[in-house]
């Protein structure tokens, strides 16, 4: 803490005094460098933090610069008025460019945004409004009372101030609720939706942020250079920006800044050696991508990882026992169904995964769902939790029809789930994994970041305490700062249950929670599930471990070939001939051995 504060203070003083040490050429280079730093931070937020491939950042930059140019030169507005309008224009364009992200992701999104960036340069080259190929010269320098901004030296301070503001705001976003939800969405958008993250709105927010950063840089660009032309916003410069973010380390905003500064410096040094510039420049990019895929910002962590490779393996010893919830007593009418599924069918083209399935789970029950592989159990979970839209039928949660609602809406309505193959947010710490689910913040509350940053900060601190209490209850306090991928499988399973419970659900869906656990861990799991039920949460559990199902569940539903073949108390179901047939085949339909297996 002390070292970090000292370093920040020293950097601030150095940045303040920098102009005194530079000639006008170096000053200009630094000014241009700061613009690229702002652009990279914006791109880093969108790509590195939110995981949205954005190859249109250079177009956002262009929209900001061109809008300022058109409004000042052609409309005769003052610089600052034009700047505000330009920012609004860029934000609007950002939302338009972000729309495809609602439907496509990863490299498809890259292609779409790249196409939009190309369309922008093409448009400005051919538009009379944008001055065509000649661009728009003669943009006035901005004025501030008492400060002569026509000097590159004093303009630097304007840029520095805006850079500091945008960087701090970016870091604030990353380290609080909004950034956490974005990172969760980046790591696993499906799981993020299942814990209540409004994925579509956050994707748009990511593009909005990127575009506003692009707009700020664009406005400053037009003020600094006084001229805009299509070449500045070329795809070559988009590549440069991308390289800055990748070399610096896209998951760290400070890394993006470092990348921007170092690449800009390399570019400047190579100006004197034009013959070697391209080769040297390409080499730097290739070397970084090959030897430091996490970028310059990831180097310290990687080095530390190399040094301490042995010590991380012993982390499993910190698991403490689960502290049961206080029983909530009987809440509401005990027999009212918490979950009702009516005539539900789910067809994937020709495959009928579920055919007219109906079941009711009363509040406060632990319901077991069993059946051979491929019998439609997980499909049922996926329909109930909103991942699939059913072909026919209804899903009713506590009297409310929630058929085909979005996963995040269902999470808000009180459904939480775990996944058969763990779906933890791999690049978020265990605490952050829980925080994402714990966080009641909605995308519509994002305005608070502009108006009430202190409130956001306070809320986050309170949430953090709550998360620590929850982790402590689940005996996971020792791993709060670990990445889940570094933990043993059994602990990851428990983290996923803790994350599901963090969302304060009324209905908890557990998809094979005992898979891969040893006997001791299965017993602990049963205790946890019982305590959760006693706390007032209805639990539905898919499980293959029959011993666990028999001892844990109040009621068991058996699936085969997408339909329910048996339903009743565990002991009854276990000896039902249909079940035995489904599990063991016709020839083995003898009740005795199955009963003994069940008991064991």
């Amino acid at each position: 803490m002390r070292i970090r504060l000292g370093a920040i203070a020293a950097l601030a003083v150095a940045a303040w005094l920098l102009p005194y040490q530079l000639n006008s050429y170096a000053m200009h280079v630094v000014n241009v460098m700061l613009l690229y730093a702002i652009l990279s931070v914006g791109l880093g937020l969108c790509m590195g933090i939110a995981g949205q491939i954005n190859l249109a950042q250079v177009a956002f930059f262009g929209v900001g610069a061109y809008a300022t140019a058109v409004l000042t030169v052609k409309e005769g507005m003052g610089f600052w008025t034009a700047a505000v309008l330009a920012l609004l224009a860029t934000a609007a364009i950002g939302l338009v460019v972000g729309t495809p992200a609602l439907r496509v992701q990863s490299h498809y999104l890259g292609i779409v945004t790249l196409g939009l960036a190309l369309a922008f340069t093409n448009w400005v080259t051919n538009s009379t409004l944008a001055g065509g190929a000649e661009g728009i010269p003669g943009i006035p320098r901005p004025t501030l009372p008492g400060v002569d901004l026509s000097s590159d030296y004093l303009f630097y301070y304007v840029e520095l101030a805006l850079f500091a503001v945008t960087l701090v705001f970016g870091l604030f976003v990353v380290h609080t609720s909004l950034g956490r939800r974005m990172r969760a969405m980046r790591d696993d958008s499906l799981a993020a939706g299942a814990v209540g993250v409004e994925v579509p709105a956050l994707r748009m927010t990511a593009f909005l942020l990127a575009s506003v950063y692009g707009g700020v840089a664009g406005v400053l660009y037009s003020g600094l250079i006084g001229y805009v032309a299509p070449e500045t916003f070329s795809i070559a410069n988009m590549f440069l920006l991308l390289a800055m973010v990748i070399i610096g380390g896209r998951q760290s905003l400070v890394g993006c800044v470092i990348g921007a500064i170092s690449l800009a410096l390399v570019r400047e040094v190579l100006i004197d050696y034009p013959t070697y510039a391209q080769v040297a420049y390409g080499t730097v990019v290739v070397l970084t991508v090959v030897f430091a895929p996490t970028g310059l910002a990831g180097l310290p962590v990687r080095l530390r990882g190399l040094l301490h490779r042995r010590t991380t393996a012993t982390a499993s010893s910190g698991l403490t026992p689960f502290r049961p919830y206080d029983p909530a007593g009987t809440t509401g009418e005990p027999d009212a169904p918490m979950l009702a599924v009516r005539d539900l069918s789910m067809h994937f083209r020709g495959v009928k995964a579920l055919t007219e399935v109906s079941l009711e789970v009363p509040a406060g029950q632990i319901r077991g769902i069993v059946g051979p592989n491929g019998s439609g159990k997980t499909t049922l979970f996926n329909v109930v939790s909103g991942l699939y839209r059913p072909t026919a039928g209804r899903v009713v949660l506590d009297g409310r029809d929630v058929t085909a609602a979005r996963p995040f809406a269902l999470a808000h309505a009180g459904i939480a789930r775990t996944f058969q193959n763990l779906r933890l947010f791999s690049a978020l710490s265990v605490r952050d994994n829980v925080l994402v689910a714990l966080d009641p913040t909605r995308a519509s509350g994002t305005w608070r970041y502009l108006v009430l940053p202190v409130g956001v900060w306070r809320r986050d601190r309170a949430l953090r305490r709550e998360a620590d209490a929850l982790l402590d209850r689940f005996g996971l306090a020792a791993f709060a700062d670990n990445l889940p991928t570094a933990l043993p499988y059994g602990i990851q399973r428990r983290v996923e249950i803790a994350r599901a419970m963090a969302a304060r659900p009324r209905l908890l869906l557990l998809d094979e929670p005992a898979a891969g656990l040893n006997g001791d861990e299965v017993r602990q799991l049963c205790d946890i599930v019982r305590s959760i039920r006693d706390f007032g949460v209805t639990v539905v559990v898919i499980e293959h471990n029959m011993g666990m199902v028999m001892s844990l569940c109040d009621h068991v539903t058996v699936f085969a070939h997408g339909a329910i073949i048996a339903d009743g108390p565990p002991a009854e179901v276990a000896i039902s001939p249909e079940v035995i047939e489904a599990y063991l085949g016709e020839s083995m339909a003898m009740p005795a051995p199955v009963a003994s297996e069940v008991q064991g």
């Binding site: 504060l5 010269p137 250079i225 001229y227 070559a236 190579l270």
Partner: protein, 385 residues
């Protein structure tokens, strides 16, 4: 905890800061008054795209300018002072251009040659004007004149002149009225489209077809079929060398017989080779530099260029050569002056160059006509009349 740490640290840093700021405030460069050394070599900057897509253009420009400077140095320089070249890479990017302009200004160069990219030159102009560094550019966009910098000069005619001369030739002299246009939507094609349409409009001619293609398009059958239906007497092409060649080739394949017309790219060997010599027969070209065999001056230049670089001379090198000659003449005439004095000296130069007779006006343009040539049996020859 925070307070305990921050206070001594902040106090120390503050004291340090005050010390620095007190020493010199506000920031800015102390004016050195231009150095005043009148004995060492004269430093001239050559800025162009040496890397990136436009690097071939930059390489030609560099060779032409360097040839002129080497010739002067071999003859003893200017008043006994050698000329020193500094080569800068603008990467064809306006932002990098402004960096280069600052660098040139801070390193004591008296003048700059280049760049071939109008947008880069326009971005650099305010900085060079402020630093009083005359700049002879190879760009030819009308936007260069709109900058109104007294330190900015062109080493050729503006693009308007190319199309104005061409329109004069085909409409006024040859009397062609049904003219079709095919241009690309890149910066060059767009400029050609606009200025040729304008030149036609002043003569009361409206193109019978106006087809726009993209810069990376390779198949033009749709656009050309449309043009064929209009049966024009002449087709104007506004595209770079290779694309122009492809357009002409495909037009002939479609059975279009009308001759083509265009500016500088249509006079190059690349265009001729791409289209095929038979297909380009009769193409009318408006260019400031017809060929290496027009007169004695161009023959001498072409020979010297070949000796120095091992390559055939072409238009861009010739333009840069002329620009360098004008600058060096101005330096000689003004006894190696700098700043405004040198700019005035450039404006006063009357130079008989490869492109024609230069005489600068207030806008920084020194030459106002191009030559019209026709491709006849694979060679560009001056058009009759």
């Amino acid at each position: 905890m925070l307070g305990r740490v921050r206070r001594p640290l902040a106090a120390g840093l503050l004291a340090l800061g005050v010390l620095f700021v007190a020493a010199c405030s506000p920031p800015g460069e102390e004016q050195t008054g231009g150095g005043g050394e009148n004995t060492g070599p004269i430093k001239i900057a050559i800025a162009n795209a040496q890397s990136g897509q436009l690097s071939s253009l930059g390489a030609w420009e560099l060779k032409g300018a360097k040839l002129a400077i080497d010739e002067w140095n071999a003859k003893g320089g200017i008043n006994g002072r050698q000329i020193e070249i500094g080569v800068f890479d603008s990467q064809g990017d306006p932002t990098v251009g402004t960096n280069v302009a600052r660098k040139i200004a801070s390193e004591g160069f008296v003048a700059m040659l280049g760049t071939a990219e109008s947008a880069v030159t326009i971005a650099m102009a305010p900085i060079l004007q402020q630093a009083q560094i005359p700049n002879i550019t190879s760009g030819q966009s009308p936007g260069l004149i709109a900058v109104k910098s007294p330190f900015l000069f062109l080493n050729g005619p503006t693009s308007l002149t190319y199309d104005e001369t061409l329109a004069k030739h085909v409409v006024d002299q040859k009397g062609l009225k049904t003219i079709a246009l095919i241009t690309n939507n890149g910066s060059y094609g767009k400029g050609e489209h606009d200025s040729f349409t304008k030149a036609l409009a002043t003569r009361g001619v409206t193109p019978v077809a106006d087809q726009v293609v993209t810069t990376d398009q390779k198949d033009f059958s749709a656009a050309l079929t449309n043009i064929r239906q209009k049966n024009p007497q002449l087709i104007f092409v506004g595209a770079e060398e290779v694309q122009s060649g492809l357009i002409v080739k495909q037009a002939r394949d479609l059975g279009i017989k009308a001759p083509f017309a265009g500016a500088a790219p249509q006079g190059t060997p690349v265009f001729l080779d791409t289209a095929g010599a038979a297909n380009v027969e009769g193409t009318i070209v408006s260019t400031p530099y017809l060929s290496n065999e027009v007169d004695d001056a161009s023959k001498t230049f072409a020979a010297a260029y070949k000796t120095a670089t091992g390559e055939e001379a072409e238009m861009h090198g010739a333009k840069a050569y002329d620009g360098a000659q004008i600058l060096l003449t101005a330096l000689k005439n003004s006894n190696a002056a700098k700043g405004k004095e040198l700019a005035d000296a450039i404006r006063a130069v009357k130079h008989k160059g490869l492109l024609g007779d230069f005489a600068y006006d207030d806008t920084g343009v020194g030459i106002f006509a191009t030559s019209i040539g026709t491709i006849t049996s694979g060679k560009l020859v001056p058009a009759a009349g």
